[in-house]
């Protein structure tokens, strides 16, 4: 039992609890997602435990419903970004030569365009359905994953065990999945944790600009935006969804740190 295990356990418990709560939103939410229940920015009461939002909807219910979509998009887009980024990054490092040059320059060009503006263009052309949102965010985030995975794989392909596998005649698939991936996991796991938080914030920015999740559906980032003005009146409304984002992100990163410690232990043994 060590420190990373304890904190990792706490992180896992929090993340699972949040996931369970938001999944069960229709069962446990006291009110509907778009239901008006009282005054604008009413303080917490017996009916609305966390108070109401800028239109008088129950904040707790919206938090639960909104969590579902936010978590789905953030997790979905991060996993997809990791998959795309790693597949391309590993291929570039393994193939080398012109494949590497073309892929790396293509990624550089995408990175040269400000992410938010690129996303706005994509979403206004393709619409803002959830699959499109996940895909667009994943594509943009995968550029950074590509950079990291290419650099990490670049070190691995120079090692003798990789050369031995290549000399044996192994194909690209085996090389990527069995030789490179397991040895590249620690930095990629860390990247996953960071990317997830970044994507949370990115969804929030998109919602803020009106191209993310469309009203009346709730999402945590959108709730911060909708209630932002309440901060000037000393209201809690924007802080609660912001805290939800923060707590979930911290929990995920605790789990990530734990898994990094586990992997390090396995490697050094």
């Amino acid at each position: 039992m060590n420190r990373s295990m304890i904190s990792g356990g706490i992180g896992l418990a929090i993340a699972l609890a949040i996931a369970a709560l938001v999944m069960a939103a229709p069962l446990i939410a006291p009110h509907g997602e778009a239901e008006l229940v009282g005054e604008v920015w009413a303080p917490p009461s017996a009916d609305a435990w966390l108070g109401t939002d800028n239109l008088g909807r129950d904040l707790l219910s919206r938090l639960l419903y909104g969590g579902r979509i936010t978590l789905l998009i953030a997790l979905g887009s991060t996993l997809l970004a990791m998959a795309i980024g790693c597949a391309l990054g590993f291929s570039a490092a393994i193939a080398g030569g012109w494949v590497d040059t073309v892929l790396a320059r293509a990624v550089d060009s995408v990175m040269a365009i400000p992410t938010l503006i690129f996303a706005l263009v994509l979403l206004s052309v393709l619409g803002t359905s959830i699959p499109v949102l996940i895909g667009a965010i994943a594509c943009l985030a995968s550029t950074r994953v590509f950079r990291l995975s290419r650099a990490v794989a670049g070190n691995i392909v120079a090692l003798d065990y990789f050369e031995a596998a290549r000399l044996r005649g192994e194909g690209l698939g085996w090389l990527m999945v069995y030789e490179v991936l397991p040895n590249a996991l620690p930095p990629l796991t860390a990247e996953f944790g960071l990317r997830l938080c970044a994507n949370f914030l990115f969804i929030a920015s998109l919602s803020f600009l009106g191209l993310g999740i469309q009203p009346p559906l709730a999402d945590w980032g959108g709730m911060v935006r909708d209630n932002a003005a309440a901060i000037s009146y000393g209201g809690l409304a924007p802080l609660i969804p912001a805290a939800a984002i923060g707590v979930f992100a911290i929990a995920i990163n605790l789990v990530v740190d734990w898994s990094l410690a586990l992997q390090a232990g396995q490697r050094d043994r």
Binding site: D160, L167, R168, G169, E170, E179, P182, R269
Partner: protein
């Protein structure tokens, strides 16, 4: 007798965990040593014997995760363990200095050599930079470095390995320390460069009257410098005595084996198979270049029959590793052909068939990086078996057991990861992986140079025994003449990308010797105390004659 300069008294260093319990055996277990002023003590032992730990302890440094649990290290009447960090810093570099094994990893690649050497003087002797640089240049001159006046202007990557190692000696000697600790300073160098560095170390120690603690696994090397030797095994002191006594009349069995492993074996009397057998592998006028370096290989030809062992020898940079890479298809050649059983092989690895790949296998120098750390041994071997031969799970499993048995590893090792094996065991797994393919030719790229002498001996014996059964041809790429004598039937001596001498070992290593062959042969350290002196004397005489 006056007080010794360094005295280590029943020192015990153990790994400690955060909970305080040390379950493994101590790294250093009750060792007592003493070193007088101007004396050179050689510390000999295999990896894990605790010699580097002692070397660092003499600097008052204990690796994180370890602690002194008993005994003392006394340097000039001060117990190093009781000194404050500031007091230690005043001693380190000024009175005790350290030369590490890899100069390339020890220099800051972004700063000029002169600056890094002069730094010690500025820090410890309050010299100003200008005169520190002047003193550094004087040291470079003492060490026979080229253009000593401007040598300090260069960056570490701009000088050769041997020069860099000498620059590190200059850095260590900058403040004329009373004690110099040398941790395997020549292990990464080839034999011809090793001589330069050994001569440099010896003359520096003598001229500055410094004492030395020379850590190595090579008895012959340390015999040239050390007044006394201490033999370590598993953290314990096996034997200590004067160099001559240890070499000539070792009392302990372990020491005797070490001395024996270093003595030159007689040339093997191998009856080469009838020349009528067609060669397995024939390389015909192969040439290759890197983009920035032309003629890494030029016009290299040789042929190899089943059961033969060709040793490719040469100094580093002679192109011997490139040769293996080109033949294996990892690097394109410019001209020439590689024929396998009279069938010309495609030059790129991706264009070769699985069957062609199977017949050519490779064993690497560093078993640490040659095995995927995330795969268990059973999987590493199993993949090689099923990739080439397929078969049911049970038959693959059976073959893996057979392979482990062939290389002398317990079957239970199939469930271990490479990290749980020792260097020699890892190299055995690499051999088993190569054998899994039932190859016709095995390339052995410096397979023993990263191993301790006794382990290396076992690996060579294993390879030879296996060759009797499989009749595979071996290509040994090595700079170690001892290995060549031990295993080779044929020798190809390489110099600057060309084969300058080639033939059966009995011819190549017999007079008249090609000058380069002679240089390589005489550069091999011999376990007598006067070997280095003899070599240097001989070279001086030759220089005067010409």
């Amino acid at each position: 007798m006056s007080d010794p300069l360094l005295s280590i008294e029943t020192l015990r260093i153990e790994a400690v965990t955060r909970t305080g319990a040390a379950s493994v055996r101590p790294l250093v277990d009750g060792i007592s040593l003493s070193l007088g002023r101007g004396e050179v003590l050689g510390l000999i032992g295999e990896s894990g014997a605790g010699k580097s730990t002692i070397g660092l302890a003499a600097l008052g440094y204990i690796r994180p995760g370890c602690a002194i649990t008993a005994g003392r290290i006394v340097f000039d009447r001060q117990d190093l363990a009781t000194l404050t960090p500031t007091a230690l810093r005043a001693i380190r570099g000024a009175r005790v200095a350290y030369v590490a094994q890899s100069a390339a990893a020890s220099f800051n690649p972004a700063r000029r050599l002169g600056q890094q050497v002069a730094e010690a003087l500025v820090l410890h002797r309050a010299t100003d930079w200008t005169s520190a640089h002047r003193q550094a240049a004087a040291l470079f001159e003492e060490l026979d470095l080229p253009a000593p006046g401007s040598f300090g202007e260069r960056y570490p990557h701009q000088v050769s390995g041997g020069q860099l190692q000498r620059a590190m000696i200059a850095m260590a000697m900058a403040c004329s320390p009373e004690l110099l600790i040398l941790d395997e300073p020549t292990t990464a160098l080839d034999v011809t460069t090793q001589i330069e560095v050994l001569a440099a170390v010896r003359s520096m120690l003598r001229r500055h009257g410094s004492a030395g603690l020379y850590i190595t696994h090579d008895l012959a090397v340390v015999a040239q410098l050390a007044d006394r030797l201490a033999v370590l095994q598993h953290g314990r002191l096996v034997e200590t005595g004067t160099t001559t006594a240890i070499l000539q009349t070792p009392t302990e069995d372990y020491t005797r084996r070490l001395v024996a492993a270093r003595n030159e074996p007689d040339l093997p009397t191998v009856d080469v198979g009838p020349a009528a057998v067609p060669p397995t592998l024939a390389v015909k006028s192969l040439s290759a270049s890197y983009r920035t370096m032309p003629n890494v290989l030029s016009d290299v030809s040789f042929a190899l029959r089943p059961g033969e062992t060709l040793a490719v020898v040469g100094t580093s940079g002679s192109g011997k590793s490139t040769l293996a890479r080109v033949i294996c298809g990892l690097m394109p050649q410019q001209s020439g052909t590689v024929e396998f059983r009279a069938e010309s092989l495609p030059m790129e690895v991706s264009k070769r068939t699985r069957e062609q790949l199977r017949r050519l296998q490779m064993i690497y120098q560093l078993p640490d990086t040659a095995l995927n750390p995330r795969q268990k041994v059973g999987r590493i071997l199993g993949r090689a078996v099923s990739f080439y031969f397929g078969g049911s799970r049970a038959s693959v499993q059976h073959r893996v057991d057979e392979l482990l048995d062939m290389v002398g590893l317990p079957l239970a090792f199939a469930h271990r990861r490479p990290g749980e094996l020792s260097g020699g065991q890892k190299q055995r797994v690499c051999i088993a992986r190569a054998l899994a393919a039932r190859p016709d030719v095995i390339f052995c790229d410096e397979v023993t140079s990263a191993l301790d002498p006794l382990v290396a001996e076992e690996i060579l014996a294993l390879l030879q025994r296996l060759q009797h059964g499989t009749q595979a041809a071996y290509v040994f790429i090595t700079h170690d003449i001892g290995v060549v004598r031990r295993v080779a039937t044929d020798v190809a001596v390489m110099q600057k990308g060309r084969i300058v001498a080639y033939g059966p070992i009995s011819k190549v290593f017999a007079p008249p010797l090609h000058p380069h062959t002679q240089l390589l042969l005489e550069s091999v350290p011999q376990p007598r105390t006067d070997w280095l002196t003899g070599i240097l004397q001989g070279r001086e005489d030759a220089a005067q004659e010409s």
